[in-house]
Subunit: 249 residues, 2 copies
DNA sequence: TGTTTTTGAATATTATTGATTGATATCTGA
DNA sequence: TCAGATATCAATCAATAATATTCAAAAACA
């Protein structure tokens, strides 16, 4: 069994189960415990997972996987629905900001080609250009794990523009803690995007409800939250001042 | 079995399976292990696949390089030699600027991982991050054909930095018309890069000698020209004030 | 025919693996 | 809370597998 094959198996199991123990991986791959251990060390170094006593767990929030290798298909289905709703809010000739991240990525193929898009997601460029959109990247440091552009240069670069709308990914949506995301620098980008936009939208799939991540980037009433109809019942736990938009049925 | 046949088989299997082991390829082609090994080395050099311990896997950051139907392999060979020469001029911990373009791309895998790289070539990011370099993109509009970042935003973004060295692609090198390139906006980027760098280098394969393209971005003596030894005889047609560096023999 | 290129086998070098060890962390039941 | 039992971990080492290198035979070419 090749190293890459083992890594693929490990990542798949981690993605599916959330956490796995070394013994299970040993059986699944037919390799020895030492080898699995070494694999986990390697994968942790690549920021693909987190090692825990007895096994490994997936990184929460962080999309260590590329936009293509998606998690569960249910999750993907939800993301696509929300993304489609988000794209439907974009008007012809709008100038919009798109956050990095896989949920936002799903919006691209529903966008009108006439929009001008500013983004800090390097992975979005191919799809945006294919779609025919005018595509502008913020500058800045490329973050290896998510390929998001961040840092001083990215903020300065974004600050040159103003947007009709911005669309942001979110890792936690909590009544007390507001909108949060694991990376402080990405949080700064989101924060600035909101300030520079006439309207701000957060794409939140139901798994992010009641979750809290590290860095807060917005209060609950600063953005319009887009989510699935399935989450409708959860809405009562949040302040009435919030703005929501949910998908059909 | 012809070399091209084997290469076709290998590429097909890699494309279908994602990863293949050498033994399978050996059986499939009926060639010896050594031959397969040589094929894989060759295909890796052509950036068609990635060699891994025990076999080969397909490139993941691909998409970007495919439309670039590689010209003659002689041309590629020359580019690689020049790129290697260029990379050898980079010191540990340098901060450098890399132009967009395929010749410059070939430099990346020879760079010391300790360098900080600023670039306007979106296609370079994957390779730079794989290499472990600190990677900074200039912002700006993404040009669909070359995936270069250009325009006001790109210039403003680059202007935040200063470089030890910059490395530029060139389309024409002419005794009277200096260094030229087809796109005016890319020319502006090159021009500014030279101004912001302590040392500027142009990578010029021999087919560009005596050529003239649309937009001039530098005089002949503003940069050090890197080229192959094969071009040595052409050098006398150019002013003596120019600085050259040529590959070995 | 002589020359160059390609190939496959042999060998030396390097990387990966799995077992073993002692150390460290977690769990259990008082 | 503690101590003992158990499980997991990091480090090492020998065995194995994969790789690079070399060389001579075979094939392709002129």
């Amino acid at each position: 069994m090749l190293e890459t094959e083992r890594h693929a198996i490990i990542m798949r199991m981690v993605a599916e189960l959330g956490t796995v123990r070394i013994q299970d991986l040993r059986e699944e791959t037919g390799s020895s415990e030492s080898t699995i251990r070494r694999d986990l060390i390697e994968l942790e170094k690549q920021r693909k997972l987190k090692r825990i006593h007895g096994g490994a767990s997936k990184l929460q929030g962080k999309l260590s996987e590329s936009p293509m290798t998606e998690k569960s298909s249910k999750n993907l289905q939800e993301k696509q629905e929300i993304a489609q709703l988000a794209a439907s809010l974009v008007d012809e000739n709008d100038t919009i900001y798109l956050d990095a991240g896989s949920t936002i990525y799903e919006m691209i193929r529903h966008l009108p080609p006439s929009v001008t898009v500013v983004t800090n997601g390097i992975s979005h460029t191919d799809a945006l250009l294919d779609r025919g959109c005018k595509t502008i990247l913020t500058g800045g440091s490329a973050k290896p794990s998510t390929k998001a552009l961040i840092g001083r240069g990215a903020l300065a670069s974004m600050n040159q523009y103003r947007f009709d709308k911005c669309f942001l990914g979110v890792n936690g949506l909590h009544p007390d803690y507001g909108l949060t995301t694991p990376d402080e620098e990405e949080a700064s980008m989101k924060e600035l995007a909101i300030r520079l936009s006439r309207d701000a939208f957060a794409l939140v799939d139901p798994s992010k409800f009641q979750e809290v991540s590290f860095a807060r980037f917005a209060e609950l009433d600063e953005v319009t939250v887009l989510t699935t109809a399935a989450a409708r019942e959860s809405l009562e736990h949040y302040p009435h001042s919030m703005k929501w938009k949910v998908t059909d049925q």
